[in-house]
Each structure stands twice: as structure tokens, then as C-alpha cells.
Symmetry: C2
Amino acid sequence: MARVGLTPAAVTEQAARVCDEEGFDRLSLAAVAKRCGVAVPSLYKHVGGLEALRREVGTAAAAEIARVLGDAAIGRSGADALRAVARAYRDYARTRPGRYAALQQAPRPEDDAGAAAVFYRSVEVLASILAGFGLPDEARIDVIRWLRGTLHGFVDLELRGGFGLPQSVDGSFEVVVEALVQTLRNWPRAEDPEQEPDGSAGLG
Amino acid sequence: MARVGLTPAAVTEQAARVCDEEGFDRLSLAAVAKRCGVAVPSLYKHVGGLEALRREVGTAAAAEIARVLGDAAIGRSGADALRAVARAYRDYARTRPGRYAALQQAPRPEDDAGAAAVFYRSVEVLASILAGFGLPDEARIDVIRWLRGTLHGFVDLELRGGFGLPQSVDGSFEVVVEALVQTLRNWPRAEDPEQEPDGSAGLG
DNA sequence: ATTCTTTTCTAATAGGATTAGCTTTTTGGC
DNA sequence: GCCAAAAAGCTAATCCTATTAGAAAAGAAT
């Protein structure tokens, strides 16, 4: 019964590795216990159970990707910042696919408020970049949702093997990022409302 | 031992309902067997196991959404078709969330070629719509990846509860769709390559 | 040194997936 | 109509994982 000196953080880290190496859906207490060199029930002294462990991994990953995105944005602004952050986002998902999957579990209302704050940090990075594009205030949230969706969707499809054709996925991503940049540059401003010639819902 | 008259299709349908009502990750043979009014091992006469059943649901969903998207596109073209298909896509995911999750499992190489073809049908719908926008040939695949990613990303984040703020998600989606339309209209054509004034990778 | 707390363990329970093998129903050929 | 073969269902058994309960050992604190 030699003590291993486990901590909640250590357990979460091993769990995160299981996620990255085997897939988020293959995360099990059994696999984590084996890595920690401990019997399965011992984990319960450090985490609340499998469900709780999944959330721990997600929260840790949210903190991690926020730092990665923030670092990518340092010293850049506008389109440059957007390009750097978009690439950092995709790189994170590709190098840490299990953690990336884990952070798609949105914090539940009953989770502590700190968890929600951690998840929000990445959004703040995007928001600060968008500030440089001079968008109308009402468009803020819509634009962030659009940006998050575009990045997540591309990366998620890529990770799941959804892009089957042989054409370079790196190239496609560059195209997507440039499309984002152009769309932001052309975003309808208050001064040119006639960008909507067809009476549809409009962008703002 | 009265026979229930189960078929592979019936089992898959019940499984799909479990996915929609309880979540794709909660799909279990136990839940499906209960719905079918049958003991768990009986299911093995109709499906290969849990893993195979997941894939059956995914393939059935792929066929279903392809039909839904195709129907939405009938009688429309260009931006109108894109709007209709985008809304149909989101509606499908919202009304059939478990099936939508199931169809994110890309067919594996060892699956039969028919399965891959089914998954490809939705892509063909998108491709046929894009044909109306007169895009350069080299951009085809990149644009389809961008479009799929944008739709999937938005819808996936929405389904997972990733849009926490009170602002209308319907409204944001309309904005996203209009952004797609505008981006396609402004897509760099061979005749105006100077749309890239900053020496970056470019859109094509 | 002794006591208290914490970590780890073993044992036991419960639930799901899977396989083996038996029974009943249905079907097809005669 | 009858009989064999196939198909569909069942029970029993095995294995794996999660979880809880409670004992034992290690470490910390007095």
C-alpha cells in the first residue's frame, strides 16, 4: 500500500492523456487507474467519478486552450491576430484531440461559476480581436458565434475524418481563414446599409 | 417466446429514437431491447453489436438528412437555395439531435462502399448549390469544406449548449447564413485577383 | 509515542455487452 | 397436411466497468 501521492490535478492530467491517446469516448476510470498505478476505487479520493472526471478534463482543457489562443494573439491585431489565433486553435485541436473533445461539454448550470468563467476566456480572446475590426455593437455576439462555429466546425470535421478527399486540409483551412478575414472586412457598417440588395435578414 | 417480428431496420429505428431522446452517448443495447420488447441478446440476430448499431444509426441518419437537404433545395437556386438548405440543416439537427450526432461518425475504410456513398449525398447537395455561384474550379473542395464546417460548427455548438448568452440563436444563425451568402458572392474570381492586398495565402 | 486524518486497498454490488447453446416459431419443399 | 431446416427468440454464463462500504496502512500532528 505504498502511497503514490496522487492529487486531483495529477488524476486529471492522466485522464487527459487517455483522452488524447485513446479518444474522449474511451476515457475510463480503469484506464486512468492503470496509468496512475493505483486501484480503480482509489481514484474516488481525488475525483467524484467518471462523469466528474470528464468535466475536470474539459475545464483543464478550456484553461489550456485559452492560454494558447491568448499567447497567439500577443503582439498582433486585426487580420494578423485572427490568422494566428485560428491556426493556434486548429493546432491545439490536432495535437490534443481528446482534450479538445472534452472541452465541448459546456459547463452545466449546477457547476461552480469558476468553471463557466474558464470556458469564457477563449471567447474573450476572440472578442478582443474582433474589437480591432470596428464592427457595430449589435453584431458582436452574432459575429463571435459565427467565428466560433466556423473554427469549431472545420476542426471537428477534420478530427472526425470528415474530409475524405485527398486534397490538402491545410490548404482548405488557409482558405477558410482568409474567408473569415474578408467577411469581417466587408461586414456591413452603419454607413453602407445597401449591402443587402435582396430584402433578406441582413447581417447585423 | 412470441415473436416480435424485429428487423434490422426496426432495431435501428428504435436505436435512433433512443439517441434523439437520451443522447447519442447514452445509446445502449439495453435501452433498445427494452423499447423493442425483447431481451438484449435477441438484438444480435439483427445487428452486429453496439458499435455496429451506432454506425447503422449514423448511416440511416446520413440518408435521411441528405433527403431533407435535397428537398429543401428543390425549385431553388443560388442564395435562395443556400438559405433553404442551411435552415433545413439546422432544423434537422435540432429535431433529431441524436441522429445528427450519430452521423458525425465518418464511415471507416473497412465499411462497405455503399455507406460512404450515403454520406456523400449531402455533400453533393451542397456542391450542386455552389455550382450556381460560378466559383473557380480549384476552389470547389475548399468551399465545400468551409460551408460544411460553418454549418456543422454552429449547429454543434448550439446543440451542446455552447451559446450561453440570452441573445437569440435563431437571429445569429440568420446572420451566419447571410455571411455565407455574401462570402460566396464576393469570392475571388479569376478576373479580380487584387482582392488580396496583403500578400497572404489567398482564397483559392 | 499516540492519535487522527488521509490514502490506498479489498470485497461486494450493479449494470451493460457479448457468446453459447437451447427452444420455439415460421417457412419451404414434398 | 407433414417434416426438416432456418430464423428468432430465450436463459445462463462470462467479462468489464463504475460505484459504494469498510478495513488497513501511511503520514501528520500533538
